[in-house]
Amino acid sequence: MEHVILFAGPMGAGKSTAIATLSDIEVVTTEAANTERHVVDKATTTVALDYGEITIGDEEKVRLYGVPGQSRFDFMWTILRERARGLVLLVNNDDVDPIASMLERLAPFEDLLRRRAVVIGVTRSDVAPRPSTADYAAAVSAAHPGVVLPILTVDARDLTRMRTLLLTLVSLVEAATELETDEVTA
């Protein structure tokens, strides 16, 4: 079985780092010099996609696609979400308004949200301990009544933590697929 998983989130949330941490292969990157260093102080930024792969178990290959964080690249979100089975949304907790940022970044992925094929990873909580994961969960429930998403604090450089987040998502994707299959055959 193969899965296509998207990594989305604001610029500087750790998407490229997360894919590099998880990938079994050398990651394909499309980094460009960042001319918005007054917005996020990092030397480069992804302008098209990151691509990596990880094999889970014996034969379950997961293709990892990272999309640019800036909304001016939202056409890449549109292109890639059409083939995605699940979404890892990373949000940096030291953002100006990380909860608003999370909700804004969830909106374009309504289809995946409806299938419950979304997990949220909160990065940089060591730098900014608030808001808590409970705050994020409350915001998701308020904006999307009835929706409960796994929300974990993560360090994008930490393989164990990122694998936990990814495996959680893969199990959600498989559950959603089974449910859809049952509905079709019923």
Binding site: T30, A32, T35, V47, A48, R72, F73, F75
Partner: protein, 143 residues
Amino acid sequence: MTSIHRSAQGVIFGTEVLAQMRALAPSLVFASLLTDDGFVVAQTRADTVDSGRFGSMASSVQALSEAVARELHLGTSSYVVIAAQGGHVLQQRVPGHPVILAALFDDAETLGKALSTSRRGAETLAAQFDTLHPVPETIGSTE
């Protein structure tokens, strides 16, 4: 040091060269000089397309083409060509500088002429940018 693409003289050079390209090739629908991450440095005929959108897409396409060339060990990507029924989009880096020249030609133009016009524009820009060291005054730079 300030990047060339943020220098006032760099913007002037860019605007002049794009105007020269327009004069050379009336089939040029739109042309833009962009930073690597897709911000417009200079442009010509800005009323013809959504220049911000064009810049972002050109930046992504440039990066993807270079990633493909890198993955296939093809060396440096020289051009990106999108040939469509209604015209051609041509992109290339300005040699030696972190900027991209992207141009849209209508279907009245041959691909060869469009390539020639773009290459000449990029080479002229490279020569002019080479004269800008050290970089003079800045436009809104925070670097």
